[in-house]
Assembly symmetry: C2
Homo-oligomer: 159 residues x 2
């Protein structure tokens, strides 16, 4: 039996479920690419959401990116916190705000393993408009200032 | 069809699969507790493992802890890197070594959200002995020096 949603998660409840769609990636150092993707937001009854993102290249279906982490209410009434791990040898801590069905995050720290990617900061915006969840992600790296990296649109998956 | 395991993951292949068992938690600031747990290590064909940990208290089955992240080979022949997100408003970056079927990690950075837990460092050891995967996790916090926190034993789940 699914646990009841924690009251503190009501502002984030619009994210719950499985979302599938496609996105476009670009960055000054790489060729543009298109990907298909699944986002899943779940809860266990506690005041946080479990988040997982999985994407594959359109074409050869090569695995592209996988994020795993958590969202939770922050200190203020509109505050949301994000903690993420990336397979690139990175972690991401971000502070965000929620406004209706829109979330905006800016990273406050990025952790890096010895061989980790040179990402230094990220900005994320997620927005539900009708039945479409869209997002934009900007990224800065050691040698590249903050610039647009990913744009995608997803729809809630059945069942 | 499951992708082939990336050659670089051969030393970590003993972790693959789903593990279930029980553990004991303690810390100077809290009452001891017993928990049941599931660890899952998966791969997608790329040179990293996806890791997820889920635990619940023995007794009332209240959700206890959930870790999500990645392991990947590091810079040296025995080096392993770990990136994790925690629902406590924490991220963890750790560098480790692998020796046979034993892994030892020490965190090199812990990221914290504005309202995140006061954890400052972690040490982890995982060891496969026969068909038992065991681990010990030590933790330091703002006000508490590094000390034993968790000990558990798990067995590979069927199927």
């Amino acid at each position: 039996m699914a646990p009841a949603l924690h009251d503190d998660l009501a502002p984030l409840a619009f994210l719950l479920g499985t979302w599938r769609g496609e996105g476009d990636g670009e960055y000054p150092t790489i060729e543009p690419f298109r990907y298909h993707e699944e986002l899943v937001f779940e809860h266990v009854g506690d005041p946080f959401l479990l988040y997982r993102q999985s994407s594959w290249l359109v074409g050869d279906d090569a695995p592209l990116h996988f994020e795993r982490g958590f969202l939770r209410p922050g200190a203020g009434p509109d505050a949301v916190e994000l903690t993420l791990a990336h397979p690139l040898g990175l972690t991401e801590v971000a502070e965000g705000t929620i406004s209706g069905e829109e979330l905006s995050f800016a990273s406050t720290s990025v952790g890096r393993t010895e061989t980790g990617s040179a990402v230094t900061a990220l900005r994320r915006r997620y927005r539900l408009d009708g039945d479409v969840l869209s997002y934009e992600i900007d990224m800065a790296m050691d040698e590249t200032a903050m610039t647009r990296h990913l744009v995608a649109e997803l729809r809630r998956a059945e069942g």
